[in-house]
Amino acid sequence: MISLAGRDILHAWGKYVFTGLGLGLLIGVTLSMAGIYRGMVDDAKVLLRNSGADIWVVQKDTLGPYAEPSSLHDDIYRSLLGLPGVARAANATYLTMQVRRSDEDVRVMVVGITPGQPGEPGYLLAGRRLTRSHYEAIADIKAGLAQGEKVRIRRNDYTVVGLTRRMVSSSGDPMLFIPLKDAQAAQFLKDNEAIRNDRARTAANPALNRPGVPGLIEAIDASKTESRSVNAVLVQVAPGWPPAAVAENIRRWKYLQAYTVADMEDILVSKLISTSARQIGMFLVILAIVSAAIVSFIIYTMTLSKVREIAVLKLIGTRNRTIAGMILQQALGLGLIAFVVGKTVATLWAPHFPKYVLLEPGDAIRGFFAVMAICALASTLAIRTALKVDPAEAIGG
């Protein structure tokens, strides 16, 4: 038995294949959009996964350190280490800022870490970890920095000694890891003009610049430039301890806010990025509907353009089932080509997006079935039209 659908496709294969390619690109865009949405959520989650923490300890009554500013004294980690169930605790600072790279600015999230403690990148792509306690940096590859390159943060130059990947802030800015003390300084250090201005203001204040109290104004100035704060303490719990119980203990006795991974995910996904994620999600829904509509119309018009041939088939006594099968097979074939093309192009152009695009296999499988279902559905419409074709049309009607 000869395949009617195959014969028909071969008859005008160029048109068929290019229609499939066009649809494929459309599906590729839809899959990419889904990937952008997934990537956005994943950016938020990867931030939590990569920090290696089980509990985030932040300033009381804040949603810090990512969703809200949080400030803690940097010796709090010592008292946390004494609590039962706490295996490791380390200070961390987070600050999104522009850093200077030779003659252009790069937007990064500067993360202050203690080498060898929670918070440092878990894996590297190249280079090494921090070995000096100052002026070294590990950069996410998305920042576009090369190993050995120097970046300027405030007034100091940092050498990029290592590269990592997928270390991004919840808004997708690549991270730049630097030693904690440098990061503390960078967070609170003002530029020289501001420091001189501050000194002059202090000196002009008669309450602070009193005659007969030598050294007072110097002491006040010195106390202003010190930074003893961090944004969060990352805690890893000892094996066998439920993080929620340890976090509860910290909240209760240390009068600090403590979030477990689940709490933090909730804050990031359902609070911090919820609006922008819903924005993308809404667009994804519309795009999916539009794609479905376009696929249906194309299959429908493709059938309509073959009215004369169908009429001939009817005239020579072809059964309705055969005609319906031909149209369905063509529609499904088109869907298959479109999906394969779409998935391929989406995967190929995904790495070139500036932010992370996560193409989940589950999304691809769902997309496949959706495309097939839409094609089948659209073909029923076309089949209905085809079956209504009057055989007389074949001979001039």
């Binding site: 295996a87 000096r132 100052h134 094996p239 998935k343």
Partner: protein, 396 residues
């Protein structure tokens, strides 16, 4: 001509389909859940290990002198300016002596007066001595005349009394002379005290050095102990360095150091660890050490930032790995070892670390063992991997 067309189009279609399927398969295998994690591998190597400690410091003077008056006063003159080299004993500044000169004159007058009083007492003593001698001679003569019977006993006794009275007057005048002497000594001491105070209002350099600060100008009033001039001994400059406590093990006095000044980071200067402070900074969790220059550079400035690298004793042969290979799994430190294209975590004990990122492996691995150094994501036990040359700039 019909057949070839049909044939070509079918072939074209098949080729197109195959191409598409190949691209699809490539994409699925390379990026999907079926793809193996790409990693780069490194071997455990035995090599020389030169561990070092890094710290940040500022150039400070070992000896700095803050000179000020010992009593509240007004600055009269400041004789030196910042940057001046001064000798030991050189006058740096003068405080307004206010009434000290007048008090010195008064003390001088009082002393002179006392000196005259001593002269006067001495003259009185002489007179008393002379009177005593005359009275004693008279009394002796009357004793002899009495024995010859020329004078009455009463006259003799009167003369004896006169002699005794003259003796007493002489003793009194001697005491008066001594008292006047003591008075003069007291006033001389008082005059010297005022002179010392006057001299104290002049600030002199205790050592040869360089003036680094001129904190008060003529006319301003300073309280006791407030600095007017600050000087340092320029030969005693060193770098007070802060070393992270986590890396401060193994420091010893005399260790060679390399000092990179902020003004010339490309030209590191040689130095030695000169002092290890017993008291660290518990707030910043740092240890304080002082590193002295082997040869003091000429145009160095106080307070300049310096990066100090202290060389720890080197180990001629040790098993090492890049520090990027060291991972942490469930509280254990170890590395990902490769067998049959899969990774497995093996705990290791690490030792010294060099600044260029090599870590000594004390236990857990043998020379030539292959371990994962870089990976494109966090690895888990038993994960399939695909070793590649390099990950950086390699797509994805």
């Amino acid at each position: 001509m019909k057949l070839p067309t049909r044939f070509t189009s079918r072939l074209g279609l098949i080729l197109l389909g195959l191409g598409l399927l190949t691209a699809f398969a490539f994409v699925v295998l390379r990026n999907g859940p079926l793809a193996a994690t790409r990693v780069t591998l490194a071997q455990v190597e035995a090599q020389e290990l030169r561990p070092a400690v890094f710290g940040i410091g500022t150039v400070e003077a070992r000896h700095a002198y803050d000179l000020g008056p010992t009593f509240a006063s007004r600055v009269l003159r400041v004789r030196v300016d910042v940057g001046d080299r001064v000798e030991a004993g050189q006058v740096l500044a003068e405080m307004d002596p206010v009434d000290l000169d007048q008090r010195l004159a008064a003390a001088e007058s009082a002393y002179r007066r006392a000196a005259y009083a001593v002269d006067s007492a001495a003259a009185a003593a002489n007179e008393a001595a002379s009177r005593k001698a005359l009275a004693t001679a008279n009394a002796e003569r009357f004793e002899q005349l009495r024995q010859q019977g020329f004078v009455s006993q009463e006259a003799v006794e009167a003369k004896r009394h006169e002699a005794q009275a003259a003796g007493a007057a002489h003793a009194a005048s001697q005491a008066g002379l001594a008292a006047a002497g003591q008075d003069a000594a007291r006033l001389r001491a008082e005059r010297a005290a005022v002179g010392e105070q006057r001299a104290n209002s002049v600030l002199r350099s205790p050592v040869a050095g360089v003036v680094t600060a001129r904190k008060a100008e003529p006319g301003s009033t300073v309280v006791a102990g407030q600095g007017v001039i600050r000087l340092v001994d320029p030969a005693s400059l060193w770098v007070t360095t802060r070393i992270d406590q986590a890396r401060a093990a193994g420091l010893k006095i005399g260790m060679p150091a390399s000092i990179a000044l902020r003004s010339r980071p490309q030209v590191p200067l040689a130095g030695r660890l000169a002092r290890l402070e017993l008291a660290g900074d518990s707030v910043t969790e740092e240890r304080l050490v002082q590193v002295a220059f082997d040869a003091l550079p000429a145009d160095i400035s106080l307070g300049e930032l310096a990066e100090v690298t202290l060389a720890l004793p080197h180990q001629p042969r040790a098993l090492t790995l890049p520090n990027a290979a060291i991972q942490r799994q469930g509280g254990r430190v170890g590395v990902w070892q490769v067998s049959d294209g899969r990774v497995r975590f093996s705990p290791v004990a690490t030792g010294a670390q060099t600044l260029d990122g090599r870590v000594q492996i004390l236990r857990g691995l043998a020379q030539g063992d292959r371990v994962v150094i870089y990976s494109e994501k966090t690895l888990s036990e038993g994960e399939r991997i695909k070793p590649v040359e390099r990950l950086e700039g390699n797509g994805r």
